[in-house]
Amino acid sequence: MEHPAEGTLLEWLDGRLARPEHATVQAHVAACGSCAALADRLRRLAAICEGAMAALNPPAPTEAAYAALLRRRRGWAAGARRTLARAAMLVLVVVGVASATLPSSSLRRWLAGPPATHRAVAPAPGAGVEILALNDSVRIVVDQSHPDLRVRVRVVDTEYVDVRGVGAAENARFRTAPGRVSVTATGAGEIHVTLPRGVRRAIIAVGQRAYVIKEGDQLHVLAPSADTAGTEISFPTSP
């Protein structure tokens, strides 16, 4: 009869063995006196630890901690907005008042109000998000769970980084932070990424792997099986 290792007995006692193995060990312990005695000893050791740890269980200040977390995040976002507003002021001085008279100029949009660091596009099928780069850098991470999902990237003269799900990926979920977008897509379809030409550094990654890196005017395509047509790059998220 093969006796389970004591580590396996402990795992069985903790209820963390897979069901078939759990049943096997349980049947063995029921039939083997020495393993039953070892299991009893492990049970006592575990109970000693449980009882001791009960003394180290101070009440967690959850509400106060959550409020502190929110204050911390608001302070960070406010700091980022102030930094961007100063940069926009500098642009205004360089371009001059004449630029402000053009109806479609980005400076005129800034004069209308401070830019948000990120905003959600109005809810609609295939909605996405737009953010501003942080310190001229942006990172987009795609977590895909469908092998047919593709990413399409283009670089244009725009102010905002735009990321959206198209087609079967229109229900993709987005999470944003200053200079960062995370996309979780469970369907096929495409994730469209629009990068501003002025962004100094941008990384588009699938999981932990960088597929496209923009450094200045250089665009490094690391994705396998990438298609390049004009100013667009398209690649599958699964090689």
Binding site: A5, G7, E50, M53, A65, L69, D143
Partner: protein, 165 residues
């Protein structure tokens, strides 16, 4: 799940885990909060957040160091001079128990302390193994050794060899 819901679910566990590592409620709060700040800045999917947060808390505690020194200060403060004001009996007894548990944890290696506490938080052996960098098949044996050492130091009825301690 919203960030708020995730926070309310995990923060108490993280706080308790960090407190058991440090013996310091302020340090535990700092580490637990900081781990969430880092989660919000990361692209970690929610289903991987639990183990990731505990790993971050462990690393934060280790980086801030001084856990042994801090625990020693706590123990030293507890065993204060006769000039200290008298405490109620039940507070004194609880304080002694806390000090005993902290002392027993302090005799374990950092790895053994972490695997013991992660087991207390309900992590699978595979998750524990990944967190400390050992094969999942080794975690059970390491846990048994850690439990034995803890029980022996804690001054339980049974030591590591099963003999009365």
């Amino acid at each position: 799940m919203t960030v708020e819901a995730l926070f309310h679910r995990l923060y108490p566990q993280l706080f308790r885990y960090a407190y058991r590592l440090t013996g310091d409620t302020d340090a535990a709060d700092d580490a637990a909060q900081e781990s969430f700040v880092r989660l919000l800045d990361s692209a970690i999917p929610q289903d991987a957040a639990d183990a990731w947060l505990f790993t971050v808390v462990t690393n934060l505690v280790r980086q801030r160091g001084n856990t042994a020194a801090r625990r020693k200060r706590l123990l030293t403060a507890w065993h204060s001079t006769p000039a200290a004001p008298p405490r109620p009996d039940e507070v004194a007894e609880r304080g002694e128990q806390i000090a005993a548990v902290q002392a027993a944890l302090g005799t374990l290696s950092a790895r053994d302390r972490q695997i013991l506490l992660m087991r207390q938080e309900g992590f699978s052996y595979a998750e524990i193994g990944q967190a400390v960098g050992v094969a999942p098949g080794s975690v059970g044996t390491l846990l048994v050794r850690a439990l034995e050492r803890f029980a022996k130091t804690y001054g339980s009825e049974e030591g590591a060899d099963g003999a009365p301690g």
